[in-house]
Subunit: 378 residues, 2 copies
């Protein structure tokens, strides 16, 4: 239960369409740097549904000119980081972090300022803590929601607070929403930043001055190997991003762009089914987990769980779980510096396992309480 | 005649294979970061043919562990630059340069040290000039052969001199061979760097200590929109490159990797046909060019040509050619700082035009000598 990869195959409609466009010699040339216009337009329609309401009639202020298609969402983050910061600049990153974000920033010589999150606040980052970390060198705040690795889902009001904070300090808010489509109806819409009129944002609010939204087609449509992601940012920033994209990728692979463009609206039921299955598996995992393993946050692909062994680092627990129990999960230490008490947290992915295996894993965790012979937190 | 894009569709065998692997849900997951093993192995076989002789029996010392597949050759260059240099370091780049190389290095804060080439030496870079530019901050020399934009083909002995120079100074030689397959038999093999025993290299020569070879599948197989390129470098450098690749791309798109892996050897006749057609078009262009337009170098996709208008910058000539003659070509100024007299050079691409159009363009160039009313160099 360690890998953040989809557990179901992509929809047949997508595969058939992809096969058809792939066989067409006219689709072998370069795409536009910012991506196929047809896909950028289709993305806008999906964003209207995702952020405006199920009927797609919400007043979502996004146009195809705000969208750039990338060869995966990691490349989207890489290009965004390059566009807003350079060596010596600072970027605020909540901890636990997605390790590729950390590696990208480090490789670009950008200083990471860590914003610690804690189980007491269900791993929600604090805008107040964040504001104290802002310096003249800060260029961006990065949020991932639903979060990787913790699974924490940030409510719209919290996201709005961060957006206002970034706006007030004239820095970017990079919002990675790779797992956006796995929110249940209680959490919809994910936020109101793209709304033309939102009660929780100032009346003169304009997302374009602040927000860089990232999205991946890998998880929602189960096609990680096809490498398609996107950046949605002010159309005034897109040319700058485009320069970075031109150097790194020229363009994203073209056939999957064309295939997605023509089937996205028809795939809405598929995405909903995947989300529903994931939610049921989250519930099953929570219900099957031995009582002394505590869930700190849960959402998207992940659950962040505190193991019950007193004073034992999760690194050691995960090693024994893998070797002796055949259960693979990742310790908090993999996701950045852990705060006080943080060494006991473990990330489980529920995306790539079936229900039977979830139950089995939970039984093994229970077994480990006796087998490992460590003192159990009462 | 401005675009460096293939003028022919890809082979049907590739398209059919791609359609088949694209329809298979098993091929939608992430590939290995360094690329599909099957493609890396197939690449080694193609390199044996390219560098060892037509029968593939040459003693080419390359293994699948030396190869990493990238989402296009620009990403290969980007990752290589990141792996060898950081902000403040220097990289030597011959001028005229491929503008994406310049932009990538600049965007990474790497200082570009220009190595001027000139028509007197047919735009071949001089290893002696290059050596004088090496400082303690130099991390790499970049060569593109056949060159973009000049079309100059560097002979094996010159490439060997640069390799020895880089080796002596313990810096990397990044060798971008995107247009490698468009050499005629007189120019084969492109170089001897990968040979186990070469008379023009020291007996203890090891390419792995110095060489980072880049290649693109876009031109040879006419599939730029599928974004597949590669890095061939010491297997001891690959893990480092792999870290950069993991952050930028995770992996290259998977279906085109699988399709290429299974058909590469069968596509050798196709690549030869494309190369042959390109060579004939180069000859036609040279023969049709008005006598006062002088070819400085020719090869791969490009010809670098001196226009006959005395004291007129190529920028102005190209503008009028586009507006008044419908002929689009690019002035030397697009490819970096021009040396003395360099402002009169123009790049033509012969890849994306048919024979008829080549003749027509040459007629228009002849016409322009009268129409433009400028003094002609006698």
């Amino acid at each position: 239960m360690s890998q953040g990869v989809p557990g179901t195959p992509p929809p047949k409609l997508f595969l058939d369409t992809l096969a058809r466009v792939s066989a067409d010699p006219r689709n072998c040339g370069y795409a536009e740097n910012v991506g196929e216009r047809s896909l950028r337009e289709a993305v806008v329609q999906e964003m209207k549904v995702a952020y405006g309401g199920a009927d797609g009639n919400g007043e979502v202020d996004v146009t195809a000119e705000d969208v750039a298609i990338t060869a995966g969402c990691n490349l989207a983050f890489f290009a965004s980081a390059m566009a807003v910061a350079e060596k010596g600049d600072e970027v605020i990153l909540p901890v636990p972090w997605y390790f590729n974000h950390e590696m990208t920033l480090t490789s670009l010589g950008i200083k990471i300022v860590t914003l610690q999150t804690s189980p007491e606040r269900a791993f929600q980052p604090s805008p107040e803590d964040c504001e104290r970390l802002i310096t003249p060198k800060t260029k961006a705040i990065v949020l991932v929601t639903p979060n990787n690795p913790t699974g924490a889902i940030y409510p719209p009001s919290l996201i709005a607070s961060f957006a206002k904070l970034a706006h007030a300090h004239k820095i970017a808010l990079i919002l990675d929403e790779t797992y956006r489509d796995f929110l249940n109806s209680a959490h919809l819409p994910p936020h109101h930043l793209f709304s033309k009129s939102s009660v929780i944002l100032p009346t003169d609010w304009s997302w374009r001055s602040t927000i860089i939204h990232l999205f991946s087609f890998s998880k929602s449509y189960c096609i990680p190997g096809h490498r398609v992601g996107l950046i949605c940012a002010s159309s005034s920033l897109i040319p700058q991003l485009n320069k970075a994209l031109d150097n790194i990728q020229i363009c994203a692979p073209r056939p999957p762009q064309l295939a997605l463009a023509s089937v996205l609206p028809q795939l809405r039921p598929f995405v909903k089914d995947v989300a529903g299955a994931l939610e049921r598996r989250h519930t099953l995992f929570k219900d099957s987990l031995p009582s002394r393993w505590k869930v700190g946050a849960q959402g998207g692909y992940y659950a962040f769980v505190q193991h019950p062994f007193k004073g034992v680092d999760a690194m050691v627990v995960c090693e024994r779980l893998a070797k002796e129990m055949g259960v693979v999960c990742l310790p908090a230490g993999f996701f950045g510096p852990v705060g006080e008490g943080g060494e006991r947290w473990v990330r489980f992915s529920v995306a790539n396992v079936d229900d039977e295996r979830v139950r089995l894993v939970c039984e093994r965790l229970k077994e480990s309480e006796e087998t490992f012979g460590w003192e159990i937190e009462s």
